[in-house]
Amino acid sequence: MRVEVDQPKCVASGQCVLAAPDVFDQDDDGIVVTLNDRPDTGLHDDVREAAALCPAAVISLVEK
């Protein structure tokens, strides 16, 4: 799985950080950054939940 984030669309809700703190963080302005864009399988459920929770469709997952 590869994780992509479209930062200009981020509204800093923080939902992704709560759902998958090993994969998402926020910069000084509260905008999403990825800590690891190829997370281990064990994190995939959390990452999918983060993408589903994101209110602004910022997170896309390329499954492969």
Binding site: V11, L18, D29, G30, P55, A57
Partner: protein, 409 residues
């Protein structure tokens, strides 16, 4: 259009509609499936207009994130809550009722302090505020109104510290905010309350410009107003939005959540007995879902024709997203009318959805986690001091809750 106002008005449910007697936690039955026969249908507002009501969880998530749906309350067709909201001066708008790119530009000016990491850093000071207020309550007389003694002071103290507003002014801003969120206030009363609040904030920004401190208003003053990026009046309106949204909402969650838990003693026991922060966080999400205090709908207007749920919403028509009903959608939450603190409720829409989803949610979460994990533990015998049936619920409020909550222990 095949249907005219006169044809359809008679059979349409009014919005808002009353909740059922004896069910103060459940959304109005007339608006919920199966009583509302179609998932997307019209309702009738105070002024006779007939916007669409969206009640399904999936539809709400689809449309609130659709750029063809506008939050701009100055557009024709926008479904206003009341005459006073409709009559309000466009110059008093905040980013809450603007669309991108203007909304994004303004919202981003204030996202920084609400980042998860910064909210976590505030947790110890929020815990101290909560503990001190409980100490004072325990040392004082019984019964006490939990709203006045605890629910309102907690978020007010926190947001004052974050913004840099002196807490001594709380009577002033709480009173004026109450006028604004009460549906029965006259347009003149709302305008006067708004002006008083913005004038005050404007003066405060003047002080911050002269003597900047380590708070959000000082940052706005020195980095945005002094640079000419926004006027002092605009910054004052933004500060006011944060002050109002920052205390009135969380306060209602604290008091109403306490009522719901006292009515569900098995759930209250589960919360009181857990040491697990994850269980507490999960309980907060479930209480947000179940109580959905923002019960007067997210209001929008369509910019283009939109097909949804077998209906065509025309450009220029109003839309109301009933997040309270979506949070009880059985397709999203099995057994939705049950308060079940152990369920995974994270996909609730109590904070809205789309680009306007609550800016303060990380703060609200930490406040509620601290409150719910502390209050019932420190006062295990907490009980209502009035019959449940006599509690007065804020049926007429922009935000739902109880006016007073007499408790004893």
């Amino acid at each position: 259009m095949t249907e005219t106002v006169a044809d359809t008005a008679a059979g349409l449910p009014g919005y808002p509609s009353p909740r059922a007697a004896g069910c103060p936690f459940d959304p109005p039955p007339a608006l919920r499936p199966p009583h509302a026969d179609r998932p997307v249908s019209r309702v009738r507002l105070w002024d006779g207009t007939q916007p669409w009501l969206i009640t399904r969880h999936a539809d709400l998530r689809t449309l609130l994130n659709d750029p063809r749906v506008s939050a701009d309350s100055t557009r024709d067709g926008y479904p206003h809550r009341s005459a006073s909201m409709q009559g309000s001066d466009p110059a008093t708008q905040t980013f809450l009722s603007m669309d991108d790119p203007e909304h994004a530009r303004l919202r981003r000016m204030v996202t920084s302090p609400f980042a998860i990491r910064k909210m976590e850093a505030l947790r110890p000071s929020i815990q101290k505020i909560v503990d001190d207020l409980i100490d004072a309550m325990l040392a004082g007389p019984r019964p006490v109104d939990l709203v006045e003694a605890f629910a309102l002071p907690v978020p007010s103290l926190v947001i004052c510290a974050l913004l840099g507003v002196p807490y001594e002014k709380h009577d002033f801003f709480q009173r004026n905010t109450r006028v604004i969120v009460r549906r029965t206030s006259s347009p003149e009363e709302v305008a006067a309350a708004n002006t008083a609040l913005v004038d005050y904030m404007d003066d405060l920004l003047g002080d911050k410009l002269a003597h900047p401190a380590d708070d959000l208003l000082s940052t706005l003053a020195t980095e945005r107003v002094a640079t000419g990026e926004m006027t002092r009046r605009e910054a004052a309106r933004m500060g006011n939005l944060l002050l109002a949204a920052g205390h009135e909402t969380t306060a209602n969650m604290i008091a109403l959540g306490t009522v719901a838990l006292l009515r569900n003693p098995d759930q209250l026991a589960r919360l009181r007995d857990t040491e697990d922060p994850k269980a507490v966080a999960g309980a907060v999400e479930e209480l947000l879902r179940y109580l959905n205090i923002t019960h007067s709908g997210r209001r929008r207007v369509a910019l283009e024709d939109i097909e949804i749920g077998g209906e065509t919403i025309r450009a220029g028509e109003g839309l109301i997203f009933a997040n309270d009903i979506a949070n009880r959608d059985p397709d999203a939450f099995p057994g939705p009318d049950r308060l079940d603190l152990s369920r995974d409720a994270r996909r609730h829409v109590a904070f809205g959805y789309g680009v306007h989803q609550c800016l303060g949610q990380p703060l609200a979460r930490v406040e509620l986690q601290v409150v719910y994990s502390t209050l019932y533990r420190r006062i295990p015998t907490l009980a209502l001091d009035t019959p449940f049936e006599q509690l007065e619920f804020k049926h007429d409020g922009l935000v739902y809750g109880v006016y007073k909550l007499p408790v004893t222990w």
